[in-house]
Symmetry: C2
Amino acid sequence: MDIAAEMRAMAQAARAASRRLAAAEGSARRQALLGLADLLGARAQALFAANARDVDAARARGLDQARLDRLAITEGVLGSMIQGCREVAAMSDPVGEIESMKKRPNGMLVGRMRVPLGVVAMIFESRPNALVDAAALCIKSGNAAILRGGSEAFHSLSALAATIHDALEAAGLPRECVQTPPTADRQAVTELLKLDEYIDVVIPRGGEGLIRAVVEQAKMPVLKHYKGVCHTFVDETADLARAVDIVLNAKAQRPGTCNALECLLVHRAVAGTFLPLVAERLGAAGVRFKCCPEALPLLAARCTTAEAAQDDDWGREFLSLTLAVKVVADLDEALEHIARFGSNHTEAILTESHKNAMRFTREADASMVAVNASTRLNDGGELGLGAEIGISTTKLHAYGPMGILELMSAKFVALGQGQIRQ
Amino acid sequence: MDIAAEMRAMAQAARAASRRLAAAEGSARRQALLGLADLLGARAQALFAANARDVDAARARGLDQARLDRLAITEGVLGSMIQGCREVAAMSDPVGEIESMKKRPNGMLVGRMRVPLGVVAMIFESRPNALVDAAALCIKSGNAAILRGGSEAFHSLSALAATIHDALEAAGLPRECVQTPPTADRQAVTELLKLDEYIDVVIPRGGEGLIRAVVEQAKMPVLKHYKGVCHTFVDETADLARAVDIVLNAKAQRPGTCNALECLLVHRAVAGTFLPLVAERLGAAGVRFKCCPEALPLLAARCTTAEAAQDDDWGREFLSLTLAVKVVADLDEALEHIARFGSNHTEAILTESHKNAMRFTREADASMVAVNASTRLNDGGELGLGAEIGISTTKLHAYGPMGILELMSAKFVALGQGQIRQ
């Protein structure tokens, strides 16, 4: 196979399909998503069988259990894919929507009409159901998609892609609206990243290595989702009983995610009261602590999993039940620590001081800043966007969870009655 | 001078200044702009003298009159700089603004707070007053700026930059909020474009060559302002008397601009009536026509400046009093022509058909789509954004004129009372 030629043909077909998808009625896009939900249900056994081939091969190659779990399409995973398609289908059609039209002094009405970006490429390492989630968001927003998943999920992704194609065609839309490279060869990615003539944006989802490689190679803009080094600052006025609930949730509810808590900052005035609570509650949940010298004795007195932090534990994304803990003098020191070690993902303050809450929301530089809430809430669903295609940690185009609207742009529409430039 | 080290130091200083500028009160940013307006007025003679050095040197080097005109800071140019600063100062402070906060089912309030992008670099070839316009927009939006103009304006830009520095310091803000490289050496640009660690976005303003060079070299995102190949389609139901006024304005009011009309598309049903009007009115204004075979006799019968178009006249940005003219069968052919030859800048339809107006606004792919209005109205001031820093012709981050809000991002703010992830 000439991979360069194949990828160019794929990108050209995506560009052509994107025009038809954007010009289609919203009812066709909606029908494609409802049809996809139905087909996924009807073909459950075939999808499980294709997935079993991937899982068996991965197990034979010795993939660890965590990765096998991610690879598996269970009844529950399939059910959430189907539900996701139905939820996205039910949203109002965003293509061609105009938020408001204002009248200029010359009488011309000026508004901004939402338009698709065009062709979106996503390179992902995560669960195979990311294919269906991303396809649903792209179809709804009128974008053609080229979706490239991990090679270990090749059969699962092929079976899901075939299902998406059938749903598109049943709704009168081109199957090229959603394409997956027909090869597990990595050269396919390299070639796609050259085709800025046809692909408008690329979204890498996965480890830092993948993201850096895509940024390095891509000729088109990249929406980056770097690591999540999330902090929570417990201020001296915090409600400490509530604070320990929030911190426990942020750290332990699902520690492997990018919005999980990695570093707890505690105001010196309450460290002596609060850290023993943390040692008990989080210690009981299996959390290990990497502590600054001041925090260490307070934690070590109540649990067996506290040890001194090393320099590189600050700013580290543990993605596990490990938590860095530091005592700080005040809000200033907390904000300085976050400015130095944060990753622009999620930062939280727990406080009863309105002044400190307002200052923190303004000065902490992150895609979500929370007051008296868990960092785990930085998620498209929790923030009201519906499904998300990733969380952008840079400020260009989108900052934070990316839903349907973040996959779109807006053009100016000017409705006149003969207006000219004076 | 070690230009690489100088530029790195400049970018680092910009990053530090951007934090102070963003954290400052809106009143300080406002005061800097009002102070700048006053200082520009007070130093008029010194600014004219610095500009005269550039103009004299450029004339001695044989620069053409059009470029000399662009280089000159006249009383009128200075007056509009001063007025621009006052207008931007008068706008409400966008930094930290939250458009709306919605309540989630769990009771948490979620909104989006406007935040600066950080450090904006602009590489420009245009008039020296672009320095003041860009500085004003960046200061207002809380962004530090590195502004690099053409070497022929070196003394003018240095004098303007010194004035900006004095205004910043008088308002208690760091002078490093706005910096200009202290050398005319082109290596300065090359070095700046490597510093994605400190510079968040680069905006090239100038000819296509400049823009392509910046896109090629820049490691940070580029907001591109490519050429403006703008079309106007005169539909069969157009009010032809009004249409000729609009077309005349679009082509001739200021033909050297990116939103000037470059290609007129005329529905066959009205070509015989409309093109003679065009020949008379635009011909009298000095317009030359490059015509398709069908349009040529209709124009040539009424003026002496009509000739057959060459293949490369379609999709060409003339930037002069030359207009390509093509007769088309219908709206479909007009939209096809625009899809093939347009540059995503500005497209207009002149029609009395509501159906065709709506279809055109939806299907023409451009940063502004106009109905019954001049393409020249695609401008930040005309569309209600206030001043603009450029017109983006790509869909990522901003599409169309970029004002203050387009120099900003928005982070999620979540105000809770103990919310956790379920």
